[in-house]
């Protein structure tokens, strides 16, 4: 492993004191924000499902941090990843702990500005900032990071972070739908497997891999069950569901599955009692676009669900939420090579990330959006983009055309990693929801 004193390619040398001060300030804000967000979520639904308590706890990073620290003491390795294209099954199979390390802290993005220009995606800037002051426990605890080279910002992010932690880059082909692409990607999967094995000292054999796949499939099953419950009249607030989805990024997978199943059991009971969280004619909204990371970047879901008139988020197409776990690994034969291929395909082919293109453009995403709109009965779409996120911003035009043709209102909401524009955004969101309610009334 690289020693800290080695010359850094990007990162400035900060004095201990400065780091300490900054971290303290931002951590304090962060704790306040976590508490505030959860408070708001509790208030939004007076009759919040009991099972949500667990997720509130795990949403506060401290508890999981303690667990991971303890596991590390026992010799377990932690492997962080920055994008859902990273094959977590392989990490699990090597008995290591996967955690996603993207940062959602607004204030940290300002620190990132010292290293990269403000035009760069704020999520990436924030992750850099978080690293500078050792803010994110998961980023700090990671023994290695998997960086999938999806967009430009991500590509360089890996390079910058490699100043501190070994970073394994995975080249993702931009055209996924071709024989040579899948060949390249399968090789990348094999290479990552070798890296993980080298780091952990555990060889990934068929048995472990199978069990890792099955554990993840169980999680997918619970995950899908939750999303399916949101197809009907609203039985859970969108924010609550999003929080459940998001905690998967750092929670222990088996416990997460169990708790999510418990939540679904509770929700199912409510469905049978017709116990809804809001009036059934509340406009049903879907969010798509740039990932939204807990705890800070929670403003848009909060705005939508606390607006007047209120909206309810029943679905999203975000790689930080519903895209995390919806697609299962489909294994044909349980030989190690077929399992690896199946894992490869799941992480490449099923993804609807805008970093892909093909003969028909990123048709997969369009189709998936349309399916979601139909199956989840969506009445309006919020297209969320943070400034600097080129790919999502550019794809908007196409999505809008298709949605217009399908008579689904879509609203482009662009923002920054900042709390300052909340007031102004509130007006915009409310106007959109007003329009949606008017449409429903007719």
């Amino acid at each position: 492993m690289k020693s800290q004193s080695e010359e850094k390619k990007y990162m400035p040398e900060l004095s201990e004191k400065e780091v300490e001060e900054l971290r303290k300030a931002i951590t304090d804000t962060s704790q306040r924000v976590v508490a505030e967000n959860i408070e708001k979520m509790k208030k939004a639904d007076q009759n919040r499902p009991e099972a949500m308590n667990y997720f509130d706890e795990i949403a506060d990073f401290a508890q999981r941090e303690k667990e991971i620290r303890a596991a590390k003491k026992e010799g377990k390795k932690v492997i962080g990843y920055m994008c859902l294209h990273a094959p977590t099954e392989l990490i699990l199979a090597a008995d290591a702990i996967p955690v996603r390390v993207n940062s959602g802290w607004y204030d940290a993005s300002k620190l990132g500005d010292r290293i990269v220009p403000v035009e760069v995606c704020p999520m990436v800037r924030s992750t850099i900032g978080a690293k500078m002051i050792a803010l994110s426990p998961y980023l700090e605890l990671s023994d290695a990071l998997i960086s999938v080279l999806t967009c430009d910002a991500m590509t360089k992010l890996g390079e910058i972070l490699s100043d501190y932690t070994p970073v394994w880059a995975m080249t993702v082909p931009r055209v996924k739908d071709s024989a040579q692409s899948i060949r390249l990607w399968n090789e990348e999967i094999k290479a990552i497997k070798a890296q993980i094995e080298a780091l952990t000292g555990n060889t990934i054999k068929g048995k472990q891999l199978k069990s890792a796949i099955e554990r993840t499939q169980k999680a997918t099953k619970a995950f899908r069950r939750l999303q399916d419950l949101r197809k009907g009249p609203p039985v859970i607030m969108g924010r609550d569901a999003m929080l459940v989805n998001q905690t998967y990024m750092w929670d222990d997978i088996d416990r997460w599955t169990e708790k999510t199943e418990a939540l679904c059991d509770e929700l199912e009971k409510r469905v049978s009692q017709k116990n809804w969280v809001c009036p059934t004619d509340t406009p049903r909204v879907m969010i798509t676009g740039t990932p939204m990371i807990w705890p800070d970047n929670w403003k848009v879901p909060t705005l939508v669900e606390e607006a007047n008139p209120q909206g309810i988020l029943v679905a999203d197409e975000l790689c930080s939420s519903e895209r995390l776990l919806y697609d299962p690994v489909g294994v044909d034969e349980w030989s190690i090579s077929d399992m690896l291929n199946a894992i490869g395909e799941r992480y490449l082919m099923a993804s609807t990330c805008p970093c892909f293109t093909s003969e028909d453009g990123n048709e997969d995403r369009i189709n998936w959006l349309l399916t979601k709109i139909k199956d989840w009965n969506i009445q309006g779409v919020i297209y969320y983009v943070v400034r600097g996120c080129m790919l999502y911003a550019m794809e908007y035009t196409r999505v809008k055309k298709v949605l217009d043709r399908n008579n689904i209102p879509v609203y482009y909401l662009d923002t920054e990693y900042t709390r300052e524009d909340v007031g102004q955004m509130k007006t915009r969101v409310e106007a959109f929801l007003e329009m949606l309610s008017a449409r429903i009334d007719i």
Partner: protein, 329 residues
């Protein structure tokens, strides 16, 4: 004594058939058919035994042949996916390969397509050979009816090539190998022997026959459903699907909902005969004559309602969130 053992064996098989038949109906009725692969094995086994009994009566062969020719007009290559005994043998070998965890090999897509077309050539060749042989060595007195009789039921029985895959491991009539009054055979082996006999001595003929058996065995160990890639019987079945005007004809077909498909690629990977159309096509009816309607892709597609097996306009079986039944197990 030997015959008695044979009879007892036959009876045992018969009762097994009845049992399996009841089981299939039960499974389907109870809606337990989520694990289609197992159901398919059962259907194949039942069919194999049924065909075995049908073959006990020579007259049935022609009727089966007619059925094989006419039915595909409407149900595509359903026969290949669910009934063919040779396919059962190959699937069983695949099962063995799976349990020993050896990975299959893929044929390059181009070769696969080439073989698919080659089947029509094979089909013709096998039909022509008997005629050629007959012409090379014509009977002394020329008689049309005799000629026809020779061609249709004479030693060569060219149409037999079409029932080749129907010949299961055990045949009621004289097979190349007899154990305790029960004859064993292997698809096409009789034809291979018959045709090579014209040229070679008995020893060589036997060697050729065994090489053929060995090759197809090993072949299907490494390549899933290897014979189906160019099987002439499959040709007779596939041929009607090839004509544009008849695309409406197959009532049984795979149907795809483009919007539900995330292009996850699973259907392409799991298809035992490497059909790419289900993945490539933009939705709608999948009409390729390569598809054997085995429904493996429908079973494995993880998106609800994305792929369907349709009969007429009705959905018989559709893809679903296959993560669900795992709790029941």
């Amino acid at each position: 004594m030997m015959e008695l053992i044979g009879e007892i064996l036959k009876l045992m098989v018969l009762s097994g058939l009845a049992l399996a038949g009841v089981l299939v109906i039960l499974i389907w009725k109870k809606g337990l058919a989520t694990k289609v692969t197992y159901l398919r094995f059962l259907v194949q086994a039942v069919s194999m035994v049924a065909i075995f009994y049908l073959f006990t009566y020579p007259v049935w062969q022609l009727i089966i042949l007619i059925v094989i020719f006419v039915l595909p007009l409407f149900i595509g290559r359903f026969f290949c996916g669910w009934i063919c005994p040779f396919a059962l043998i190959m699937d069983a070998i695949t099962l063995i390969r799976k349990t020993v965890k050896v990975r299959y090999r893929l044929l390059p897509d181009k070769l696969n397509k080439f073989l698919h077309n080659l089947r029509y050539v094979l089909f013709l060749v096998f039909l022509i050979i008997p005629v050629a042989l007959y012409l090379l060595d014509p009977p002394s007195s020329f008689d049309t009816s005799f000629l026809l009789a020779m061609l249709l039921s004479g030693p060569f029985e060219p149409w037999r090539i079409l029932v080749g895959p129907l010949i299961p491991l055990i045949v009621p009539w004289e097979g190349p190998l007899a154990i305790s009054g029960v004859y064993f055979s292997y698809p096409y082996v009789q034809e291979v022997i018959l045709y090579s006999e014209v040229v070679f001595s008995e020893l060589i003929v036997n060697i050729i026959a065994w090489v053929f058996v060995g090759l197809t065995f090993v072949g299907s160990f490494f390549v899933r459903r290897v014979w189906c890639r160019f099987c002439p019987t499959g040709a007779s079945i596939a041929v009607v699907n090839r004509f544009k005007g008849f695309k409406w004809a197959p009532m049984l077909h795979i149907d795809k909902d483009e919007e539900k498909c995330t292009k996850c690629g699973i259907c392409k990977r799991v298809c035992p005969v490497q059909v790419t159309e289900v993945y490539d096509q933009k939705g709608g009816k999948i009409t390729t004559s390569m598809c054997t309607l085995c429904t493996r892709c429908v079973e494995m597609c993880p998106y609800e309602d994305c792929l369907k097996l349709k009969m007429g306009g009705k959905t018989v079986f559709k893809s679903r969130n296959w993560l669900e039944p795992s709790t029941i197990e």
